[in-house]
């Protein structure tokens, strides 16, 4: 409505001006002229108000739509499996989610509407011209058709060029994003020059891509300008011819000229829209490309895991990252509900991979994993992550409130539950020191000691009440007092749950019921801890001996 009003106003205004000129040339009265001028004022005022409202509304639409798209795209990327995240750095994803969608915002808000409005405006102008003189109308119709066709053709040249620009900028910001995390290592490696040089290389590769894309734009601008000049020339010739024939007044010659100028504006607008569409086209392709990616880990048909402790059953599990050598091969073993397994092995032996499979960050290449008899790949992902918890080595602090950091933004967890867990995991001392309680914002690092940060990890997992807990041993950096604290926290977290402790040290598996030792992705040893301890031929007792020897050396 607003748009149509705006178009009508734009069409009427030149007529008021025409009347004004004819009136002036004909020596009309001053009052009549004033009246026309006042009409003009009123029209201008109404046009401005409608334009402001229209722009505001369309921007609102744009932001709502792009926010929705950004959220959906982020959600999609977040759900893609880890092989995706091994390829795309956070910086790159920022550029693809924020940057590419930004480029679409105009498209969302104004593209269709503007295209429509400008189309209507062009038709309106042409109709008005036909009313004045059919020859003028016909001439300008041909002119407008040629102009639009030319722009559509040129548009196709631009899109791939803009795609290349977007690709490079994503690469550059991906690089920057990684570098910003590494300032300490860059300094100590004396790599500042290297990093700056690589950034220069990126800039150098970026510049010609942008130039290529912009040169297309300048060609389009130039060709439309040439076309418009032809249009003006045409209106001159035609106007003069008709006038000399005595078919039209001088005012109408001016009107034809004015309409030719007026038709420029919507066509130029369409050019601008096309220019945006080129950039948007590149971004749309990139957004679609992301959406088209399928997670290798798919939801099963859904199968609820039983509540309480979960039994774990590995059945001939083999796993490869891509086409590399198997990270795990033919692992078969069982862990009863409520039992605790100590998982040992050198780095790279497959311990972390085993945990990742249990969490369905990946699915086994061969074999399957059953949780209390339910194959994990039959479950929806959320069903698995809802029942299997991981206490990782590193603590990820989010730049948000303590509450969000504990609940991981889950609004269904009540403050009572949260406070209870803070208490249970002996974080109350720290919590009392916070100025705003649960609402305190944690900055980068969060001002937590290593021990407290670990406890935060325990609390996060406990809040979700899983039936199987995987602990990636994190006690190595802690002192005795803190270690005792963590031991208590471990015991509390494992109470009534099945546990798998990935251990780098023998001390941590003292309380385990079963022991598994991995080497080179294969099961080297698996059995009850007590039995392995008492069997002097077992690898585990061998480890205990060398470990003790090392300590006694």
């Amino acid at each position: 409505m607003i748009l149509l009003g705006g178009i009508a106003l734009q069409l009427i205004t030149p007529r008021v001006l025409r009347d004004f000129i004819d009136l002036a040339l004909a020596g009309g009265s001053y009052t009549a002229l004033t009246q026309k001028a006042l009409q003009f004022f009123a029209l201008v005022f109404v046009t401005q108000v409608t334009a402001t409202v229209a722009t505001y509304l369309s921007e609102r639409v744009a932001w709502t739509a792009t926010n929705l798209l950004r959220g959906d795209l982020a959600a999609h990327c977040l759900r893609l499996d880890m092989t995706f995240h091994q390829k795309y750095s956070p910086g790159t994803l920022i550029e693809r989610i924020e940057g590419d969608v930004d480029a679409l915002s105009n498209f969302f808000s104004q593209f269709i509407v503007r295209l429509l409005a400008n189309g209507v405006l062009i038709i309106g102008v042409l109709v008005m011209l036909y009313r004045e003189d059919w020859r003028a109308g016909l001439g300008l119709t041909v002119f407008a058709a040629i102009a639009i066709a030319a722009m559509l053709r040129l548009r196709q040249v631009g899109t791939p060029r803009w795609a290349a620009v977007r690709q490079k900028s994503a690469e550059a910001y991906g690089f920057l994003g990684e570098v910003l995390h590494g300032t300490e290592d860059i300094q100590s490696s004396g790599a500042k020059g290297y990093i700056l040089r690589r950034f220069d290389d990126l800039l150098r590769a970026w510049l010609p891509l942008r130039r290529n894309a912009l040169m297309v734009f300048s060609l389009i601008w130039t060709s439309t300008m040439l076309l418009f000049t032809l249009g003006t020339g045409f209106s001159f010739g035609l106007g003069y011819y008709l006038w000399s024939m005595g078919a039209i007044t001088a005012g109408t010659v001016y009107l034809i000229f004015n309409y030719t100028e007026l038709i420029r504006h919507p066509i130029e607008q369409i050019r601008v829209q096309m220019e945006d569409l080129q950039r948007a086209g590149a971004s749309i392709n990139r957004v679609q490309e992301l959406f088209a990616l399928q997670s290798k880990v798919q939801d099963g048909e859904g199968c609820a895991l039983p509540s309480g402790a979960l039994a774990v059953d590995f059945q001939g599990v083999t796993f490869r990252y891509g086409d590399e050598a198997a990270a795990l091969s033919g692992i078969s073993c069982q862990l009863g509900a409520g039992k605790v397994l100590g998982l040992l092995g050198r780095t790279g032996s497959g311990k972390s991979t085993l945990a990742r499979l249990l969490l369905r960050l990946y699915d086994p290449s061969e074999g399957q994993i059953l949780l209390s008899g339910v194959p994990t790949n039959a479950c929806k992902l959320a069903e698995v992550t809802g029942r299997v918890g991981l206490v990782p080595q590193e603590v990820q602090i989010f730049g948000t409130t303590v509450r969000n950091n504990l609940t991981l933004f889950d609004p269904t967890i009540s403050d009572e539950q949260t406070l209870e867990v803070i208490d249970a995991f002996e974080l109350s001392g720290w919590f009392r020191s916070l100025a705003l309680g649960l609402d305190t914002d944690l900055g980068p690092g969060g001002g937590l000691s290593a021990g407290q940060a670990q406890l935060l990890n325990f609390a996060r997992v406990a809040l979700r009440d899983p039936g199987l807990v995987i602990l990636d041993e994190a006690t190595s950096r802690l002192d005795l007092a803190t270690e005792a604290l963590i031991d208590r926290a471990t015991a509390r977290l494992l109470r009534g749950r099945t546990g798998i402790i990935i251990a780098h040290r023998l001390h941590t598996v003292q309380k385990a019921d079963l022991i598994m030792i991995l080497e080179g992705g294969e099961l080297l040893e698996f059995g009850l801890r007590q039995e392995l301890v008492s069997d002097p031929a077992s690898h585990f007792s061998g480890l205990l001996r060398t470990g003790l020897e090392a300590a006694l050396e």
Binding site: Q48, G99, G177, I186, L196, G348
Partner: protein, 588 residues
């Protein structure tokens, strides 16, 4: 106000480029003058009856010729402008990156990385736009002045009315000035938070996935998105209102001019051609007036952009971000990057001494106080202590990764002025507690720019106990490790960082707690191989017995202070803290 100075420094970075750009765009903006005159001549035919079809054809031909000229100008204008624009934002981004890397490494960022990235992206873009606006003001202003001159020659009183809207436009932007600034600031902040959330989300992607928290995290992001939307809309609405006020002022001016011109049109028969010219030029003059109004608003917004960028390098004058430097944007550099000092020769370390080192973390109030330290060439020193004793802090302060509050550092008896710049390869190299790697191959990550002989690289891989892992990787050193080295295991990450340290062949090797990611066997293997290496001075944070046993000297920290120091035998006799730390290991 510092914004004009910063803009000026940007302009003078490539003065020639700016001048050519300004000239081209002035010509481009001036070029519509000619069609205006042609139009005037054409319409004068009707009021003076002095036309012929030949004249009309000549005018049309002139129009076409002008158009071709304008096209050529425009294409060259874009060519120069894209280079100039890119140069402007590249300078800012490059300067900010260099300035951040120049800060103490462990405290280089004072905002979340995503926020920093958002500022480097969008605020630099804002400044680039501002420079471009100054060009347009010059071009359009020139056109306005010339056309006002021509208009004056037609009718003085009518032309004076052109200035009425200009005054209104300036007044409007002055009145809105504070609000423009405030709304822009809050919309940029909201934007930075949203970008930051994306960055955190994908940094912590594994943690989020294993916690099944995708949904909630996304909702949080959507919430921030909504906040941004409303901040942005307010910001934009103000811009539109100003635009509307400007446009109305301009149109009212036009109306008034028409009204006044009505009488001369009657009395002195202002020819239709002159009238057409009047309206045609008036369009451009009023465009300029509107544009100038926007420029004034944009100027306030640029202040916000500069402020946000200079916040990234606190304690430094804002000029750092517009400092002039060599950038090789169009061709590969033949010389090394200018702002980086060349790697010092191996420093032949004899002694390293630190006296009274103190540092307090502003956030927690913890840190180290009055720590003394003394190393001699070829020695092996272990720093140990409980959690939060200040071990990592001590290493960071010593190496200039954190700005020390007080204390002095002496290398071979000479005072070190700028520790951050001094403690670099080949004087020293180190491994952080949580090592950082980036997308690329293992080789790139180990080398990070150094170009050693193949044997040196092979040695470094061996020293780092990485050779077996490499054997298992089909692509060996060319294996792509993914963002943050995500495709490597924790131990492989740490050993890659170790190889990076060894390949630098530095005198002083600093290692912060390898035990967090390495199993006992691998760590001991690393210590054994290190012991075989002659002439290296090692400074190591550890609480493993293997390290204590190898140490010439152990420094026990407690609550940020040295609790005891000496060799293992002495300390086990005299220091209860050392006894406690030693006992802790017995259990293994």
């Amino acid at each position: 106000m510092k914004t004009p100075r910063l803009l000026w420094k940007m302009i003078t970075y490539r003065p020639g480029l700016y001048a050519v750009n300004a000239l081209l765009w002035a010509l481009i903006h001036l070029s519509p003058l000619i069609p205006g005159l042609i139009i005037q001549r054409f319409f004068n035919i009707f009021s003076t009856d002095s036309g012929s079809s030949q004249l009309v054809w000549t005018l049309i031909a002139l129009l076409a010729a002008t158009a071709i000229g304008r096209g050529a100008l425009f294409i060259s204008g874009i060519w120069i402008d894209q280079l100039h624009r890119f140069t402007m934002s590249a300078l800012l981004r490059r300067n900010i990156l260099a300035a951040i890397l120049d800060r103490p490494g462990a405290a280089a960022l004072n905002h979340a990385p995503g926020d920093v990235l958002s500022r480097m992206r969008d605020d630099a873009q804002g400044a680039e736009d501002a420079i471009s606006w100054t060009l347009d003001v010059i071009g359009m202003g020139t056109f306005a002045i010339v056309s006002i001159g021509i208009l004056l020659s037609i009718s003085v009183p009518v032309t004076l009315f052109v200035f009425v809207p200009l005054v209104a436009v300036i007044a409007a932007s002055q009145i809105a000035s504070t609000r423009i600034y405030r709304l822009r600031k809050s919309s940029r902040e909201a934007s930075g938070q949203a970008v930051s959330a994306v960055s955190e989300m994908f940094d912590a992607v594994q943690a989020i996935k294993v916690a099944g928290a995708e949904e909630h995290v996304i909702n949080h992001y959507r919430g921030l998105g909504n906040l941004r939307r409303s901040a942005m809309l307010k910001d934009r609405l103000l811009n539109q209102l100003l635009d509307a006020v400007n446009a109305s002022a301009v149109h009212l001016g036009t109306g008034a001019i028409l009204l006044i011109s009505a009488s001369p049109l009657q009395a002195t028969r202002l020819p239709l051609g002159d009238f057409a010219l009047f309206v045609y030029y008036l369009g451009f003059v009023t465009d300029f007036t509107q544009f100038f109004g926007r420029f004034l608003a944009n100027y306030r917004q640029t202040t916000v952009a500069f402020e946000r960028m200079s916040e990234l390098v606190p304690g430094q004058p804002a000029d750092v971000i517009v400092a002039h430097r060599t950038m090789n944007l169009t061709q590969s550099p033949t010389e090394p990057v200018e702002d980086v000092e060349p790697m010092p020769a191996p420093g032949s370390l004899r002694t390293l001494e630190a006296r009274g080192l103190s540092y307090t973390y502003p956030s927690s109030g913890r840190g180290i106080q009055q720590v003394n330290l003394s190393l001699t060439s070829g020695s092996f020193t272990v720093i140990t202590g409980g959690v939060a004793a200040g071990k990592t802090t001590l290493l960071r302060v010593l190496l200039g990764q954190l700005p020390k509050d007080s204390g002095e550092i002496y290398w071979n008896g000479e005072q070190v002025e700028h520790a951050g710049r001094f403690f670099v390869p080949r004087r020293s190299a180190s491994i952080a507690q949580v090592p950082w790697l980036m997308s690329g191959s293992l080789r790139e990550n180990i080398l990070l720019g150094v170009e050693p002989a193949p044997a040196v690289l092979a040695d470094a891989v061996y020293q780092a106990v990485l050779e077996q892992d490499l054997d298992l990787m089909p692509d060996g050193l060319e294996t792509m490790i993914g963002p943050k080295g995500i495709r490597l295991s924790g131990g492989q990450l740490q050993r890659t960082a170790a190889a990076r340290m060894f390949v630098r062949q530095s005198d002083l090797l600093v290692m912060d707690d390898l035990s967090s990611a390495l199993d006992v066997e691998t760590e001991e293997q690393l210590w054994r191989r290190l012991a075989e290496l002659q002439g290296k001075t090692c400074l190591v944070v550890s609480h493993r017995r293997a390290a204590y046993l190898q140490a010439d000297q152990i420094i026990v920290l407690k609550d940020g202070q040295v609790a005891a120091e000496g060799n293992l035998a002495e300390l086990l006799r005299s220091s209860p803290e050392m006894q406690r730390l030693w006992e802790q290991q017995t259990e293994e």
